[in-house]
Amino acid sequence: MNPDAPAQAPIPEAAQSAAAEENLVQLVAPDGRRADGPLAAAYRDRVAHLGTDELRAMYRDMVLTRRFDDEATALQRQGELGLYPQGRGQEAAQVGSARALRRQDFVFPSYREHGVMQVRGVDPVDRLRIYRGTEHGGWDPAEHNVHLNTLVLGSQTLHATGYALGVQRDGLVGTGDPERDTAVVTYFGDGASSQGDVNEALVFAAVNNAPVVFFCQNNQWAISEPTSRQTRVPLYQRGQGFGIPGVRVDGNDVLASYAVMTEALERACAGGGPTFVEAYTYRMGAHTTSDDPTRYRERAEEEEWALRDPIDRLAALLRAEDRWDDAWAAEVEAQAEALAERLRADVRAIEDPPPASMFDHVYATPQAQVTAERAWFEAYEHDTAQDEVLDSTVEVAR
């Protein structure tokens, strides 16, 4: 047997989760106290510079993300949105990792990264256009360096890798100038990790030493399938056989998520290549508003994870370290309320696009088939409208 290889068949699941806990980078325990141990020691310095202001800013982002989530869910229930995929429970993984990014870094999200969007400043109303059914995208990716949602699982990991190869070609890796060095991060789920595209992205990234971070949010579920349907060893190990270092972080710990991400970004920027991060977290809500998790998971599990709520944890830390202030907290609450109000008003006000806009932007250049069909459509619409005018005239005349 090769000494490098596990001597036996993969470790059984029970052992696995024990190992998981062991190898988890955690800086804040669920009770809000700073964590101990060798892993915490290795990462602690990376958050040492974060003072009350920074911690409060993270808290604020997480609270606003959750409020966004709740309000979008409510809007869906009211029929204002067709669908909404909730991010509840993943705020720390998302806000922590995104806060580690610099302006010039570029993000390729999946569809549940509401916390990342919050940090990057993507307008909350724009984020909901896709779910209202008025846009397939909704914002300008160049404005905040955030690509549109990608719904075909895993596809975006290849785009991120290619984009990172472009960054590398642009000479923006290893310049030593933190204002210029640029990295790319792609978010995807535990379920998506099984897709061939993700593994091909690992190949291309590793071989080319691309400045890209693979940020896998293992929220324990892919709709109704537990992570054990996708892998039998912890996901953070996935990159190793491609030559990509991996790290498992407590995704409900915003500081640990931040710390791990700074390390991965440093590596990318210095020319050290890709990193695979597994953020171990939990999807507290349903898969989407169309989903009913009671069909496939236990209430007990949800309750257990509720104790590890990432927002509560950061609040506990702030309190424990005397960084909490009621007036400030009330202000955050007010901001959340304002956000909710804005969503209630502005999402409802989103107008339907004109029907003929379906022909816009199929191509960037004039294309005969589209031109012909558009002309036909507009003539048909015109005739139909006239018929209707006629009909209603007839109606009135009667």
């Binding site: 896709i130 399938e225 169309s290």
Partner: protein
């Protein structure tokens, strides 16, 4: 005869259940088909009744689903694979096109790959991108595959069972927008036989409504549209015959041609873009065989040459009763 009224979705479930009961080599595999019963609940209750061994939640990898199902089929199993939505079949496209479609041919008949790939397809449900597509033409062009789509609960029940016993791979497109349309289903109807003796249960079209002035050809979700159009046309004095193709590959050309020879006019209706869609093949074929009986060119009503648009305007994209009637008017005034 134990006819029952049920929605198309439930007829499919019943057909799957019957297939699982009839042959222990049959298994269902896909994403969320187990406890959840699939996002459309078509496999609802099946894992509970047949076990995790027969109804299998797979990793999230469509190529892997079809590729391993091919291997299972080679070992004597009959996998029914569920693709969660039309827009997610493409990662499996290579396995379907270069492997599944060709193994029987490549092996000169020594290898059979009796695989069914169920794909909820079509629009009109207000969904986000990739959840409303009609990619059937992208499979019909590939020899070696059968491509079918039922329009009624009875056909759903009969055709899924026929697909499962078929020794050839079947792409089974389910009109998701019609899952909740109800109809009578005779659950005691025998499993259709594919021995070539009678009409091909996976290839023969059906006259859904008789008429004399124009032939409307549709399949899957647009059969109901065509029938509604026929109603509207009848009110205006035009008698439309409606052909429900059931199968996109092969096409039941004789049935369509027979109808068009009688009516002299033909309008094909599908949700997929007309450009390179099934309507093109039908128009070419019907014109070739009915050249002297056609009073007007075969017209097509379908999706436009645009990606499936956002939900708020999808009804302007989808073939509507109005658009079908408009095409019939044009055919009549030719």
């Amino acid at each position: 005869m134990t006819a029952q009224t049920m929605p198309l979705a439930k007829a499919l479930t019943a057909g799957l259940r019957a297939s699982l009961e009839a042959d222990e080599k049959v298994l269902i595999m896909g994403e969320d088909v187990g406890r959840l019963g699939g996002v459309f609940r078509i496999t609802d209750g099946l894992q509970k009744d047949f076990g995790e061994h027969r109804v299998v939640d797979t990793p999230l990898a469509e190529s892997g689903i079809i590729g391993t199902a091919i291997g299972l089929a080679m070992r004597g199993y009959r996998p029914i694979c569920e693709i969660q939505f039309d827009g997610f079949v493409f990662p499996a496209y290579d396995q379907i096109t270069t492997q599944l479609a060709k193994l029987h041919y490549r092996s000169r008949g020594l290898i059979q790959v009796p695989l069914v790939i169920r794909i909820p397809y079509g629009g009109g449900i207000g969904a986000v991108e990739h959840h409303s597509e009609s990619p059937e033409a992208l499979f019909a062009h590939t020899p070696g595959l059968r491509v079918v789509s039922p329009a009624t609960p009875q056909d759903a029940y009969d055709m899924i069972r026929a697909a499962v016993v078929s020794p050839d791979p079947v792409l089974f497109f389910e009109p998701k927008g019609r899952y909740w349309s109800k109809g009578e289903v005779d659950l005691s109807s025998p499993v259709p036989s594919l021995d070539g003796g009678g009409p091909d249960p996976l290839g023969a079209a059906r006259i859904a409504r008789a008429g004399t002035d124009v032939t409307l050809v549709a399949y899957g979700p647009t059969v109901a549209t065509a029938l509604s159009a026929a109603d509207a046309l009848a009110a205006e004095g035009t008698s439309a015959e409606v052909v429900d193709l059931r199968s996109i590959s092969p096409l039941d050309v004789p049935t369509v041609v027979g109808s068009v020879r009688r009516t002299g006019r033909c309008v094909v209706v599908h949700e997929a873009p007309t450009f390179f869609g099934a309507g093109a093949e039908l128009a070419a074929r019907v014109t070739e065989e009915c050249f002297y009986s056609l009073e007007a060119p075969v017209l097509r009503v379908g999706g436009y040459h645009t990606p499936y648009p956002v939900a708020k305007i999808e009804h302007d994209y989808l073939p509507s009763v109005d658009r079908v009637c408009d095409a019939v008017d044009r055919a009549l005034s030719h």
